[in-house]
């Protein structure tokens, strides 16, 4: 009887220790080491190559497995007005949607990087030099997350914007003021 009680306590203690270990999350890397941050990609923009196609090591975003970095990408997506062309949640507008499975210029991280950094014909501006490379990589990780290309445990778990408004019949009455601006 006594042994069983001690055994139960031991199991509980081990379970609690396990729970403590689960509190560990990844680091927030507020600034990348220069080498990682300044990593440009050698991405090929054409699949045609003379002779035998060259093997290239896959280039991953330094933030692909970093929840904070992807969250930053999500914030930058609206801060830099990506939403104006690609839609608030990547649903597309005058720019192509980003939440679907169609990729005009490729879905690999280095290809997405090239798209943001160098721009693409017919409308995509080139942000290279205007954004720090660190932020472009954060955007790359977020663009991947929009179509579910990163682990669910790493991708943002909620939207920061306010959830759907109440119907008009339930709005609080407000006293209008004229501010003269937004």
């Amino acid at each position: 009887m006594r042994c069983a009680a001690i055994g139960r306590r031991a199991v509980l203690a081990v379970a609690l220790l396990g729970a403590v270990a689960a509190c560990e999350r990844e680091d927030r890397r507020f600034k990348e080491l220069p080498a990682a941050a300044n990593r440009e990609t050698g991405v090929r923009v054409s699949s045609l190559e003379p002779g035998m196609a060259q093997q290239q090591a896959e280039v991953k975003s330094p933030y692909q497995e970093n929840a904070w970095g992807i969250g930053e990408g999500k914030r930058l997506y609206s801060a830099y007005n990506c939403a104006a062309c690609h839609g608030v949640n990547g649903g597309g507008a005058i720019g192509p949607p980003l939440m679907d499975d169609k990729w005009i210029y490729g879905a690999k991280p280095d290809q997405i990087y090239a798209t943001i950094s160098q721009g693409r014909p017919d409308g995509m501006p080139s942000f290279g030099g205007h954004l720090p490379t660190q932020q472009i990589w954060q955007l790359v990780a977020y663009v991947q997350a929009m179509s579910g290309q990163v682990k669910a445990t790493t991708a943002p778990g909620r939207n920061d914007d306010q959830m759907g408004a109440l119907p008009e019949s339930r709005q609080n009455p407000q006293v209008p003021i004229q501010t003269g601006h937004r």
Binding site: F30, K31, Y80, G129, P132, Q162, H181
Partner: protein
């Protein structure tokens, strides 16, 4: 002694009322504490001998009645003064108040002086100039999480809530520089989300407002011109606005008159040449987690940007 941030050194009528309430609470609580401490010491001194003495029931109930009525009187007095103070804080409202919009961001304050004419509005950040002796109405907004606007020398605090407009009225009666502080935990750099309030004579205020309404000063020397080019072509312009240049970002503090402000990084560091250079080189070392990434300028680009920014008086 300068009291930059102190509830008990009020510089306006609203803060004076809060200061009075604070002192009432202080003295009542002091009296209660002394009475309790004295009673405890008497009880300890008498020890177990007293337990043997049987007090008549009537005397016990009289003692309890006295203690209860003193507590009730003290509590009602505090409640009464609280309500009176709360009502008095709402009496400044007048149509000719100066209206200033303050928007909380992680972790800085966006400040706009209202004007019906769009071109006459003044935008600045983390530093608010107000005229002495005139009621000020703050419209308070938030762009991200809940912040709280608190200038202890001038008024009580009120929250900035995303999607809502809150209003705070105050009036400074004494000229001076007062420090404000975000008073609602809002993330990693909540502690370094301060603001400076400069209360000055109405004439000085109007001069300041006119100076800040003007677009940014044009660069004079070739190095300043180069700095302006770096700002416009590089990453700075993606977030910062400098009126009169191509830098038109709206997600970071307005830099049109950055050189006239006394602090950088929402009160994190003083606005001086070396600090400014350090901030631009590596903002994450000074205020880790803030939204400004290291822009990766070369050293001569940095010097040019410094030369330019320091002309933006």
């Amino acid at each position: 002694m300068v009291h930059l941030q102190s509830v008990i050194h009020p510089a306006g009528i609203e803060a004076a009322r809060i200061g009075d309430l604070w002192w009432t609470m202080f003295w009542i609580c002091t009296a209660v504490w002394c009475a309790v401490a004295l009673a405890a010491m008497v009880a300890i001194g008498r020890g177990r001998r007293a337990a043997a003495v049987d007090l008549p029931d009537r005397q016990i109930s009289r003692n309890v009645a006295i203690a209860a009525s003193v507590s009730i009187v003290a509590l009602v007095a505090l409640l009464f003064q609280s309500v009176v103070t709360g009502r008095a804080l709402n009496t400044l409202r007048t149509p000719d108040a100066l209206r200033i919009d303050v928007t909380g961001n992680q972790w800085w304050w966006d400040v706009q002086y209202e004007n019906p004419v769009a071109g006459l509005r003044v935008t600045t950040a983390n530093e608010i100039h107000i005229p002495v002796g005139r009621p000020i109405a703050f419209n308070l907004f938030s762009n991200d999480v809940i912040h709280s606007f608190w200038i202890p020398n001038l008024q009580g605090k009120i929250d900035l809530v995303p999607g809502r407009r809150n209003e705070l009225w105050l009036q400074a009666d004494k000229a001076g520089v007062y420090r404000g502080q975000c008073a609602e935990y809002c993330g990693l750099q909540h502690a370094k989300m301060a603001l400076v309030v400069v209360a000055e004579a109405p004439d000085d205020f109007e001069r300041w407002l006119a100076a800040n309404r003007a677009p940014a000063a044009a660069p004079v020397t070739p190095e300043q011109q180069r700095g302006k080019d770096v700002v416009e072509k590089g990453p700075c312009a993606m977030c910062h606005n400098i009126t009169g240049t191509l830098a038109g970002g709206r997600t970071a503090p307005d830099l049109t008159h950055i050189a006239s402000r006394s602090t950088l990084g929402a009160g994190a560091i003083p606005n001086m040449h070396g600090y400014l250079a350090g901030w631009i080189t590596d903002p994450q070392a000074i205020k880790p987690g803030n939204r400004m990434p290291p822009p990766g300028l070369s050293s001569d680009e940095l010097q040019a940007v410094l030369a330019y920014l320091e002309t933006l008086k």
